[in-house]
Structures are given as C-alpha cells and as structure tokens.
C-alpha cells in the first residue's frame, strides 16, 4: 500500500483521529482537502538522505583498510595482530590496499563502484580522549575550540532556519533528522535546540529507552506515570508520520541477525522507503575500544575486531541490498566515522591504544567509488609514539557531502563549518546546480527573525516578529557567548527592525537569537571581509 493510500484509507472524513499528523489535527479536513493532500504528497525522488554511522570507541583503521604496498612495515609494527597478507581482501583495479577478511560485503560494494575509501582522515593536533575527540567530530570544531552544537544540526538549521516554530508544515511534514536510539547526539544539536528526534522503534513509541520499557506497576504512581506517558505519546511530534511511513513498508530484504547495526539500518531503510523526507539519519554501534584481545592469539583474522568488521560490513551490505530491492538506492548514501583511529604499533595484550587518523567509508549507488588518498606512511620499526598523520581533514568529508549530495552553497557551508575546507569528489547528485527547492524549505514554518544582507561585511539589518511581552534579540558567537544585545524590553505584538553593526568583531559566524517568552529562534549570519 502506498503511503497516500494508507492515509486515505485510515482517515475517513469526519472521523476523530486521536492524534496529529504532522502536528495538524486532521479531523478538521477531508481527504480531498488540498492542505491534507499536501501533507500526504508523494515524496520527490530527488530527496537525498545521508546516513551517518558512528563506530564508538576508536576503530582500528589500520586493520580495517590494510596497506599492501607497505605490508612489511605494517606487519612489523603489529606482529601479534597483523592480518596475514594472503588473507587481505583485494579491491578490483587497486592493488595497493585491501580490506579486513571479514569485510566481504564491503569488498563487493567496492567492486561494484559503490564504496569510497578515504584514507587517513583526521585533523590537526588530534585529541586522544574519547569524549573530546567525539565532541570534535560531532561539532566539527577545531581541536582547540569548543562548540556546543553539531555540524549536522547546523546544516539543518541553515536549511530550515525557522525550525521548530511552525513545524511540521506542508513543506516539511517529517522530522529533519532521526537518530536511531534513545538519546540524540551532539551532531544533531542545532545552535539553540536539537534538530533531530530519537526513536528506537518506528511502530511503537512506548519504547522510551532502547527497547526497555520501564514498567508501570499497579500502584498510584504507576497509574499516573501511565497516564503521562500516554499523553506524551499522543503529543510526540511526528509519531504518526513515522508510524505511517513504517506501515507503508511491509516487506524488506534480509538482514543478519544478532547485528545491532544491521537492525538500526533496517529501520532507516524502512522509513526512507516509507516516504519520510527526513534528510539525516544517525545510527551508532560500539565496542571499538580494543585495548586488548582485539584478535585471538592464534588467528589474527578472528576475534573481537573481526566481529566488529563483520558487523559493519554485513550491516551495510544488507542495507544496500535492501535499498536496492525497495527501489530507493538512488536516494541514499552513508558514511562511517569513529572518534579516532588506533596506534600503529600494537600493545602486548593483542590490542591497540588510542591513535590518530583513520579511514572513512562513504557508500551508496551515487558515490564516486574508489580509494581516495594514499596508504598511510608506516615507519619501519614503528614505536609506541608513532601515529598516522591525517591526509584529509574530516570536515572536508562533511563539506564535500554537503556540497555534492545536498547541494549546499559554498557560503552556507562556510557558515556551517566555520571555514572553507578542501573539496573531495565523493558523491553525484545531478540536481546540484539547479535551483528552486531551497527557498521552499527556508521559508517554511514561522519565520521570526531574519537578517539582510547575509553574508554581510559591516552591518546587517535584522527583522523580527514578537508575539508581545518581553523580547530579547542578541548576537552570539560560535561558542554560544552573548556578544551584543540588540534589544531587551517589552514589546507590543508586531514586526520590528534592528541594525547589527559588527564593527570591531572578527569575520566569521554569528547567531542572532530571538527570545520571546520560552519561544526561541536562531539565525546564522556570516561576516565576511568587505
């Protein structure tokens, strides 16, 4: 059943639906109402999706993407865990590099031109703390700067600047981003609020925490908790569009069992096929912090890391096969990342300690397959201090995907990532270069504050709308510090103008934040050289 049919069949006119679709009470509209039809409109085939796969713990990239041309140095650095050369999976047409023997699925994707391997991705002055390194990857900050929001969140805030005021709406009835899991990550945090939602199961929103439903016992507090949860489910924004999307897909390809990554990707495929216009999905899987017992002592091709490699490879392969079977593989590309790689030299407990740069995978029918970059230089006689230097800044990957897959303009990318990064050919989207759709999204919702011009050199004019009462407009820097208060007083409802003169402030990204009661909206602004 098509999504449209599902909705039409399940909402007879004049039936009271005890829920909302896209935030609008549907009972007031018949199925022929153009407004309702706009809520049910077919998803455009041009809508692109990015799936971000986080490998928690710091993946050992050197045993995942193995340098064949410097195999001797590789082997000598980690004799107790090195993959035997004759077990390395080879890549068609590229003999310098191979994959971990568990990754037959990714080998197939590579050979079909659906996998791009980017060598030695990192950033200057790498950090070896899980927390800090994760924050750097999620926020796309420099190593020595703190940013308390995420790169994907900032992208979505640029594309949907009015969110969440007036959302969902007919232009964007679906979540902007979905994290599979119970808690949203920093990557999806926008400048002022989360830009994504988290779900564990698209058909059952009672699962509040990772499939664990804390019981509501037969007690007074159990009764009240059950009541509040019921209201929470009814009011959970987007729950009905997600359930409807999931219900559209009744049959999917096979996924390996006992593979938590595969299970999450299966949900993603279902929601993409089901018609959600959601742009970004995040999934994550853990266990990559392999300080010890990375391989078994007797066979370095089996053990914990081999199981992790199998999980990643089989999960992605099953996902790709499913997307193809569902007819949506044109719309999706994915990428993997981990907060850091591991040390070149292994330790004595058949493990590896925290390291620096590591390879990333970008996969999908519309990626430019191949290996980007050269094998990392491995010194002969590597010591415990030797790390893999980065060839590509991870923000180049973000920047390239934003540009080539989501068609984001350079000036906006600079706002999102704070500066310019090298462009690497990774993805193919023929729609990039054409115009038209963007404004629909950028004007969707309730626009409460805008500025013009943007980018600006010295000053820019802010126009804001207040519903009355105390209203604050201030300018924040990328660290969230308030650097200029433009107005801070009680207003009567209406639309007002303010000038922001940036004299004395460095070029870069600023946020104009409107606060009106508990309503907020944040507008990114870019100051450039005149």
């Amino acid at each position: 059943m098509k999504r449209r049919d599902f909705l039409r069949n399940s909402i007879p006119a004049a039936t009271v639906l005890p829920a909302l679709i896209g935030g609008f009470s549907v009972k007031a509209y018949s199925a022929d109402n153009p407004f309702l039809q706009s809520l049910m409109r077919a998803t455009m085939d041009t809508d692109k999706v990015l799936v971000i796969i986080q490998l928690n713990g710091g993946n050992d990239g050197l045993n995942m993407v193995i340098p064949i041309d410097t195999y001797g140095n590789y082997y000598n650095a980690r004799t107790n865990i090195a993959i035997p050369q004759n077990r390395i999976l080879t890549l068609n047409g590229y003999d310098k590099t191979g994959l971990h023997p568990s990754m037959t699925g990714l080998q197939t994707l590579y050979n079909e031109g659906k996998l791009s391997v980017i060598q030695a991705v990192g950033y200057p002055s790498p950090n070896f703390s899980h927390f800090r390194a994760t924050d750097i990857w999620m926020s796309a900050s420099d190593a020595n700067a703190e940013v308390d929001n995420g790169w994907a969140g900032r992208y979505l805030a640029t594309e949907f600047p009015n969110y969440p005021n007036g959302f969902p709406n007919s232009a964007m009835p679906d979540p902007l981003a979905i994290q599979i899991g119970s808690i949203s990550s920093l990557a999806l945090q926008g400048p002022s609020f989360p830009m994504g939602i988290s779900i564990t199961d698209p058909t059952n929103f009672y699962n509040l925490i990772d499939g664990v439903v804390d019981p509501t016992p037969d007690t007074p507090w159990g009764k009240e908790l059950k009541y509040i949860r019921m209201i929470a489910q009814l009011t959970k924004q987007y729950s009905s569009v997600i359930k409807a999307a999931a219900a559209n897909v009744t049959s999917q390809g096979n996924y390996p069992s006992g593979n938590d990554l595969a299970a999450q990707l299966k949900i993603v495929a279902r929601l993409v096929k089901g018609g959600l216009k959601t742009r970004i999905y995040m999934v994550s899987t853990g266990g990559f912090d392999t300080h010890s017992a990375q391989t078994t002592a007797t066979d370095t091709t089996v053990g914990n890391h081999a199981n992790l490699m199998l999980k990643v490879s089989d999960g992605i392969k099953a996902f790709m096969d499913d997307l193809k079977g569902l007819g949506v593989e044109d719309r999706v590309i994915g990428m993997t990342f981990s907060e850091f790689g591991r040390r070149i030299k292994s330790n004595s407990s058949t493990g590896t300690d925290h390291g620096a740069a590591a390879p990333m995978f970008v996969f999908g029918k519309n990626v430019r397959g191949g290996v980007v970059g050269t094998n990392p230089a491995i010194p002969s006689g590597a010591t415990v201090n030797d790390n893999i230097p980065f060839q590509y800044d991870f923000r180049s990957i973000y920047s390239s995907l934003l540009s080539q897959w989501f068609c984001v303009k350079d000036v906006d990318i600079q706002t999102i990532l704070f500066k310019n990064f090298q462009n690497i050919p990774l993805a193919i989207n023929n729609a990039c270069g054409t115009t038209g759709l963007e404004d629909v999204y950028r004007n969707a919702g309730d626009q409460l504050i805008v500025n013009y011009p943007n980018p600006f050199a010295e000053s820019t004019k802010l126009t804001f709308k207040t519903k009355g009462g105390h209203t604050l407009v201030h300018v924040m820097d990328t660290l969230g510090r308030s650097i200029r208060t433009l107005t801070d007083k009680v207003y009567t409802p209406g639309v007002y103008n303010l000038d922001f003169d940036s004299y004395g402030l460095p070029t870069g990204v600023y946020y104009a934040r409107l606060q009106n009661g508990a309503t907020q909206q944040v507008r990114p602004m870019l100051k450039v050289r005149p």
Partner: protein
C-alpha cells in the same frame, strides 16, 4: 455512572489498556508513626510534598535529624513574614522605585494592573526563596481553598492583604481563619460581601462559605437553599473603606432580624443584633453553628488536605485508617491545623511506598521546583530587585501558560485538579501543556532565559558537585534521581542513559571518572569544562524530558 465506569469508558479508547489498569493497589497503612528507614529517599519525598522541591543542601541539612524533628521543623517556621512587594513598574504614582506600594490606596486602573503583576512576581519569588518549612506550600493550599481572582479583586493592596492573611494564618486555627477570611476586604470584594445589605442581600459569599470553605456539598442531609439566604442576612453590613483598604461594619446596613436555620443546623436561631458589634457577634454565632457540624467540617477539610498532600483517590481503607482519625484529631484540637499535619506527615501512611511519586506536579511546582532543586542563581532581590522581579515574572508566566496563574485561579472553586473527578491532577497534563513543560525545562538548561543582561540558567556542574560522588557515573545518576525523581528507573534504563550520555557510547565507567577528575583538577580549562558540561547538560535535560519527572 460510577467513577470507575466513567474512567474506563473515557480512557479505554485512548490507552487500549486492560480495565484492570485502573484497579490500582492501595494501602491499608494508617496513622501509626512511621518507623521505617530514614534516608534521603524519605526526606526528598517529604520535602517535595511540603515544600517546592528538595535541594541537595536541604537533604544534607535534614539528614542529621530524626523524622519527627524534621516534621516539627517544617511545621514551625521561625522566620518573620516576608517584606512586601515593591514598585518594579514604570507607571507614575507616589511610590519611589524599589519601595513598597502596599500601603498606598488606591491607584488608577493601569497602576493597579502593574501592581497586581508585581504581587504575582513577588509571590513566585517567595516560593523560589522559601525557607525550609511548609509555610509557602500551605499558603498556596489556602489560596486554592479560599480561592480568589486578582483580576476581580482588582485593587492590588487588597490582593496583597488577602494573601498576607492566608500566609500568617497558614498554620494556625482553621475556624479563626474562616472568620478572618469572611471579613477580609479582598474576599468581601471577590464574593460581593461588601454589597450585601439589609435592603439588597447578596448570597454569593453565604453559599461559598458553606459549599466550598467549610461543609462541602456532598453531605446528606445538607444545608438548604433557605439556609444560604439566611446566612447572607447574618453577613449583611460589612463594608470596605476604599480609601484605606480597611473593612468596617456599618450597623445601618445590617439585617437585625432573627435568623432561623433548618433542621440540618438543629433549627438554630441566631438572635438579631444591632449596633457596632452586631456583625461580629452574629458572625461568631454563625461560625459556631457551622462548626457545630463537626463531622462534616472536619471530613471536608481533611479530605482536601489529603488530596493536596497525598493522593486524590480516597478508598474505604484510607477513609477508615487515615481520614476518620485525622478528622478526629482536627476536632479534638479545636480546629488547629498543625496537629493534623503533624499526624499525617509522621504517619506510616504518608511514607508508604504506595503513596510516593503519585502526585503530578502542578504548574507552579514544575516551574518553581526546577529553579529551586537546581539552585538556579537569580539576581539579588535586595540589591537588584528590578532584575529579580523580571525573572520571577518569567517563572510566573510559564506556570500560567501551563494553566496555573498564581492569584488568578479559574474560579472560586480553585484549580479543578484538586476537585474535578475523576481525573484530578491528571488535568494538569494534556497535549498542550506537556510540550510546554518540556520546552520550559529545555530552555532553563540549554539556553537559559536572558533579560536585561542577566541570565537564569541551570548550572548542571554546580548541581552535580552537590552530590555524593559525581566522579562515579552510577552514583551520579542514582544521586541525581534521588533528588529529581520519586519513582524508580530500572537498572537497564539507567545503564542506557549512562552509556549513551555520560560515557558517549563507551563501555568503561572510568572514562567519565577521568573526565570529571580532569575537570576538578583544572576547572578553569575550558576544554575540561566543556567535556563534563555538555554531558551533564544532556543528562539532566533528558531526565527532565521523561514522564517520570512530572511526578512528585
């Protein structure tokens, strides 16, 4: 339709829960003094019900005392009554900015309005800055009981006086409070008592005095419609001098005929009086007659207290083991409030596991508790009153949009959550208010609320530092839940929250411990700070977004 059938019919289509879901277990425990464990859990339960939340410092303070000592301390405030609200508005009057306006009578309409707002902000400030006792919670209880609407009273001075009366009598004698409220100028305005004269009786207060304030409407038999009219005659002649805001009795407006009541009141006749003391003498006689219906009055008030402090469902066991003996205590004490509260708060019933966590926080509680429990730093109310009032205004406004506008309840019946069967507290939570509650706590912890260059914002690190061992992620979560929640989270849920938020997906606890210790060792290092700050921020935001947070 009986209550249970109504509930089932109303909810079954939404919840798809089996009918048995509404046969909730209740307890047989009664007023026997509680002698079980006395830990932070019990203290937080007691404080969440009797105050606006429990701060870690409050718990530490009370942990060294026995249960009985803590209850006694809560019931015996020593601090003087608060200083009155001050001029925080710009409208022109004779009052200096920052000086109190409560003795200035009267003002024009726009000034009265900003003064009423000043009063509301100040009231919220008193709750946020409350001492460790029950006074502010009881003031709110009496405000809900003797409900008046500021917008109707209109005159801000009378509004202030009315609430000051409730506060100073909050833990005193109920019968004395009824008398004081009857001739309180704010109440005389609100229920038209000042228009009630021998030539034009107004029955408004006469009815509510019996139906809402003392006897209730569920007695069988009960007072009659004629009794309402006759009570109105007793209460004729009370007037207000609007130039001073003081009640006076005008003998010429008083009905001096004999007042004959129904058999419900044992055919009591109140002899008509005249002269300056007539109103007072007849009022005493009236209250003696009403309070002679001892069982009805005591049952009515005790049930209201029970629904406020314990739970809204009163089954036969609770009636027999708690309500009846408390009503007896109330009568024996000649209507003193404290002995009743003392017996309740020291009882097995109050601390019974089945009676914990089942109160849905009211809007004022959600708004004020978030400020108190996290010890949000507000602008100093003495040195920077204007900014302090601005912030209290924000908190008051939030509670108002969650449907509880302090000093302006929807009617003389108070807020429906305390009387409307069968949903009671559940009326606070609906598809409009629940997202707003979440938006409010999100604002407090993510961006804070900024006005006039000052920001109120939850400092999650400062909160964590108050806990016993914030470096251990398991203890940190347990300690946090002890303060913030009153219902349990499963170990599986706690573990997920720990791993996903505090450990950023890692499996070893020491990653959090190391991050916390690095921060403590060098707290001025912004990277160390940011690492623990974002994780604690996300932890508390998440905890406040779960349904469990709405319960107290």
């Amino acid at each position: 339709m009986d209550r249970r059938a109504f509930l089932t019919a109303k909810h079954s289509s939404l919840t798809r829960q089996p009918e048995s879901a509404f046969h909730t277990a209740r307890t047989t425990s009664g007023l026997t003094p509680y002698s079980g464990p006395w830990t932070a859990e019990e203290i937080v339960h007691l404080l969440k019900r009797t105050m606006f939340g429990a701060k870690p410092d409050d718990v530490t303070y009370f942990l060294s005392k026995s249960m009985s000592q803590v209850v006694d301390e809560l019931l015996n405030p020593v601090a003087a009554m608060p200083s009155p609200p001050v001029k925080d508005y710009s409208e022109t009057d004779t009052i200096a900015a920052g000086a109190t306006w409560v003795n200035d009578y009267p003002a024009d309409n726009s000034t009265e309005q900003v003064r009423r707002n000043s009063f509301k902000k100040w009231s919220i400030g008193l709750m946020i800055n409350q001492d460790r006792n029950i006074r502010e919670k009881m003031t709110l209880f009496w405000h809900n009981h003797f409900a008046t609407e500021a917008v109707t009273i209109d005159n801000a001075q009378l509004l202030y006086k009315h609430h000051a009366l409730l506060r100073s009598n909050a833990l005193g004698n109920f019968k004395a409070l009824v008398k004081a409220v009857t001739i309180d100028p704010g109440m005389l305005v609100y229920l038209n008592g000042y228009l009630n004269t021998n030539t034009a009786a107004d029955e408004n207060y006469a009815r509510e005095l019996q139906e809402l304030f003392t006897l209730g409407k569920e007695n069988n038999p009960n007072y009659t419609e004629d009794d309402v009219k006759t009570v109105a005659k007793v209460l004729t002649g009370w007037r207000i001098d609007f130039t001073t805001g003081i009640t006076n009795f005008t003998p010429a407006k008083h009905d001096s005929s004999t007042k004959q009541f129904s058999s419900f009141y044992n055919n009591t006749a109140i002899a008509g009086q005249s002269g300056a003391t007539a109103g007072d003498v007849e009022l005493d006689a009236l209250l003696n007659m009403i309070f002679s219906k001892q069982v009805e009055v005591s049952q009515f008030i005790i049930k209201k207290l029970y629904r406020w402090f314990c739970y809204y469902t009163i089954d036969a066991t609770a009636q027999a083991n708690v309500i009846d003996p408390l009503a007896q205590i109330f009568r024996n004490s000649n209507w003193d409030i404290k002995p009743v509260l003392s017996a309740l708060f020291k009882s097995e019933h109050f601390f019974d596991a089945l009676n914990r966590g089942c109160v849905i926080k009211s809007p004022v509680e959600i708004a004020v508790k978030a400020c108190r429990e996290f010890s949000i730093v507000f602008p100093d109310a003495t040195t920077d009153y204007a900014d302090a009032y601005n912030m209290w205004d924000f908190i008051h406004f939030q509670a108002a949009i969650f449907n509880q506008d302090y000093a302006d309840p929807p009617s003389v019946s108070g807020w429906p959550s305390y009387y409307q069967k069968p949903m009671f507290y559940e009326l606070w939570i609906n598809s409009d208010t629940l997202p707003k509650r979440e938006q409010f706590t999100d604002t407090l912890i993510v961006s804070g609320y900024t006005r006039n260059g000052k920001t109120i914002k939850i400092d999650p690190i400062a909160f964590a530092k108050k806990l016993s061992n914030p470096g251990d992620p398991n203890i940190l979560i347990n300690d946090s839940l002890t303060i913030l929640y009153r219902v349990p989270l499963s170990d599986a849920s706690k573990n997920t929250i720990k791993t996903s938020i505090l450990l950023s997906g890692q499996t070893s606890d020491y990653y959090w411990t190391n991050a916390w210790n690095a921060y403590l060792a060098n707290p001025t290092d912004s990277m160390n700070y940011q690492t623990v700050y974002t994780r604690l921020r996300d932890l508390y935001k998440y905890l406040m977004n779960l349904a469990e947070y709405q319960l107290a």
